[in-house]
Symmetry: C2
Subunit: 237 residues, 2 copies
């Protein structure tokens, strides 16, 4: 793949940049201990993600229901899960726990890789997360973004096929200038379809060590890098 | 003014962060020497700014004409000015000169002030400049933004009174969390009107030492800081 024209690198975020599963488990376990309840937080995390977000996201991306902020989707499912798991929280505690998605922690290779990439490229998340969520995550975890692209800005969710064009247009680039990085083939397919170069970073532990998540297969071939350090090396920094 | 709730600081950019007048003069003088023509670049810079951008910007902000990218506005006026001043350039040279607005240089207090502010606040330009222009400017001049807000994202120009609400909504904040900094009273008025705290940074040399620019008077009182170092101190960093 030719990356000689690349000036801007955009990143899927949940799963690709940050380890949401482990972040939910860690905050959940601390909360469970404080409340004296025993919960399978690995299961809790994956159900929250799959049913609260992934399912809705695909419906929005296909035009079957209107866009809503991710904070709202997370909260709607969280209220259900607290009932199901019998965990009683105040409104303030619930709101704080819901916003753990603003505090997700990066995979261990991310900060070094991004720092190296930033010396030569403009870098930013291109995520379905809300703008403020991505901003809080960046400030909290030291992600050195140059800019933030949120689905919120287009009132769409990836992998809506039109959102990749919207992003490249906002970035003021030709598609070959904008490289998309993701752990999810469908996201890379959307970028590839409009002419962006793509790099696949597998994150086999995204849903934890044991999970039932099935990722849609890629329509196109995507070059693979092992992590963000190898990504930086592939891009010459 | 109470700034205890402030989490995000947004900045008018042309004039407030970067010294566009001097940047145009410097690139213009180098170009004039290369082409063997003598031009009053101080006048050239101010006419380009006032007639090519300011006049159109106010018409767009008042809903009298549709939004267009700033690159397009700059280029339209540049083509006129090259004729008027008898400066002959190739298409490639004209495009490069037009994009000097992507290469504007900051005032000398800016980088230190922003670095200090970034330790505690999320910071970003909130500018009528196009997204890519602001990104290129940041990378070229080492402006350590956390995010970029461009009028392009809303297809509006400040000081359209509705764009300040759009910005605060995208930032996911209450108005009292978002502080607006500008050298232009009308911009501060727009932010103040929706409840944002505001700080005025006078830039008396924005149009050079001698100029005819008349800035609209402020509708509201705005607290003043001398420069970005004093701004950082005012915000406790």
């Amino acid at each position: 793949m030719d990356v000689s024209n690349v000036r801007i690198v955009i990143f899927d975020t949940f799963g690709t940049v940050v380890n949401w599963h482990e972040s939910v488990v860690q905050e959940g376990e601390a909360l469970g201990r404080a409340k004296g309840v025993s919960i399978d937080w690995h299961e809790f995390a994956n159900v929250w993600r799959e049913e609260g977000y992934i399912k809705v996201m695909y419906e929005v991306a296909q035009g079957l229901r209107p866009w809503e902020p991710v904070d709202v989707l997370h909260r709607r499912k969280l209220d259900e899960l607290l009932d199901v798991y019998g965990l009683k929280l105040t409104e303030e505690e619930t709101d704080h726990f819901n916003r753990l998605w603003h505090r997700l922690l990066p995979w261990p290779d991310v900060q070094e890789g991004l720092r190296r990439l930033k010396t030569k490229y403009s870098i930013g998340p291109f995520s379905n997360g809300d703008f403020r969520l991505l901003l809080n995550m960046a400030k909290g975890s030291g992600l050195p973004w140059d800019f933030i692209l949120a689905g919120q800005q287009f009132q769409k969710f990836k992998p809506d096929p039109t959102i990749y064009e919207d992003a490249v247009e906002l970035l003021g680039g030709r598609p070959e200038e904008v490289l998309m990085v993701a752990a999810h083939p469908s996201d890379l397919d959307g970028a590839h379809a409009i002419g962006c170069p793509t790099l696949y970073v597998p994150r086999p532990l995204e849903y934890g060590a044991v999970n039932n998540h099935v990722e849609p297969e890629a329509k196109y071939d995507h070059e693979t890098v092992a992590d963000f350090r190898e990504l930086a090396a592939r891009l010459g920094v």
